[in-house]
């Protein structure tokens, strides 16, 4: 059974996701950030779906569990699209869009093959521990991709504040979620008391951080990335 705090986190996340889309629509930047908007809309739809299924079938029903994990995987694929778009923005001036698309395709195919391999090996145990392990691996691919993107931003001395904050917020989300999945794998006893709160908290963090960036940081704002890496500012 979900408590008031669970509902509050769901509601805040849902509202922030809708806000990001509306904010970009109003500022006529919907097309510029189309993968991000599609992700936010789908995520809002999933949040609504989860709420509906909890009310109708309960949190321990197989309908809810299947919807939760399948929608999470689909959202991850959409998130890869967001990352590809961010890569394209960072490498915009180098005219390497084709290579980025190619590399992304290979990476997604490799992830799918790896996941298939894991599924094939665990045919008899497709729930519980396996689902946690798969989630951990998928999110960790996200961490690696975002961290490489962050490294490229530093290397290329990218100065667009909005882009920097979008990437950093995404990296925080991925690393927190992947870390939580891994901790869940290592210490299953921590899940009911502590770890169960982390994914919803960071699920709320991402739309909130992006909402802040799109509201407060103008498109032309600039920031020297060297300042972010100094030992002392």
């Amino acid at each position: 059974m979900l408590g008031p705090l669970d509902y509050a986190l769901l509601l805040i996340g849902f509202l922030a996701e809708i806000y990001v889309v509306v904010c970009l629509l109003v500022r006529r930047q919907f097309v510029r950030y189309i993968p991000l908007n599609v992700y936010m809309l789908c995520s809002a739809f999933v949040t609504f779906g989860l709420f509906f299924l909890v009310r109708r079938y309960g949190i321990s029903s197989s309908t809810y569990v299947y919807f939760y994990y399948y929608s999470d995987s689909l959202l991850m694929i959409l998130m890869f699209w967001v990352i590809i778009k961010l890569y394209q923005q960072v490498f915009d001036e180098m005219k390497v869009s084709k290579q980025i698309r190619g590399a992304a395709f290979i990476l997604i195919a490799a992830t799918a093959l790896f996941s298939y391999g894991v599924v094939h090996q665990n045919r008899s145990n497709l729930t519980g521990h396996f689902v946690v392990e798969l989630g951990q691996n998928l999110y960790f691919v996200g961490v690696v991709l975002t961290y490489l993107l962050w490294g490229s931003i530093l290397k290329l001395r990218e100065t667009r504040t909005r882009l920097i904050q979008l990437v950093l917020a995404l990296g925080i989300y991925f690393s927190a979620t992947a870390g939580t999945y891994a901790l869940r794998n290592l210490f299953p006893a921590l899940q009911p008391s502590l770890l169960k709160w982390v994914p919803p908290l960071f699920g709320m963090w991402l739309p909130l951080a992006w909402a802040y960036t799109f509201t407060r940081i103008p498109e032309d704002a600039r920031l020297a990335t060297a300042r972010l890496m100094e030992k002392h500012q």
């Binding site: 392990e133 951990q136 691996n137 999110y139 960790f140 961490v143 975002t146 961290y147 962050w150 504040t161 920097i164 904050q165 950093l168 917020a169 990296g171 925080i172 690393s175 927190a176 992947a178 870390g179 999945y181 891994a182 901790l183 794998n185 290592l186 951080a209 802040y212 407060r216 920031l223 020297a224 300042r227 972010l228 890496m229 030992k231 002392h232 500012q233």
Partner: protein, 136 residues
Amino acid sequence: MIAAFVCVMSIAAFLELLVSYCRSILASSSKVELSARVREVAGIASHPLAADDFARLLQLVRLCPERGDDQTEIRAVGTYYGLLRVLGRAARPLIPGIATWTEQERQSCSYFAAVALDRRISYSRDLFTQQVADRL
């Protein structure tokens, strides 16, 4: 084994990205020169800002009328400051280097609070001037 590797790498990445994110918020104020007025009000005219000045500066910020556009940043920096203080206290006896680093970061947070205070004082003065002008 894989889970332990993912866990360690994710936590390391999380910490680095979190610090960079918070610094990107702090960076907006780091180039701003503090006015003599705010230095006087905050009692820092004769000495540089200290890491522990943050709480006092934040209290002064809260005394000023809200501008409506700086609340999110102040809250985010406040959370970052709190985390740094906890980390600093925990690291002091074990790793003094980290304690020194947290001290410097907290100093940046104090500077951010001083800039926020400066902006709010200017805003209050503008409001007051506008009200006086309206009465006339």
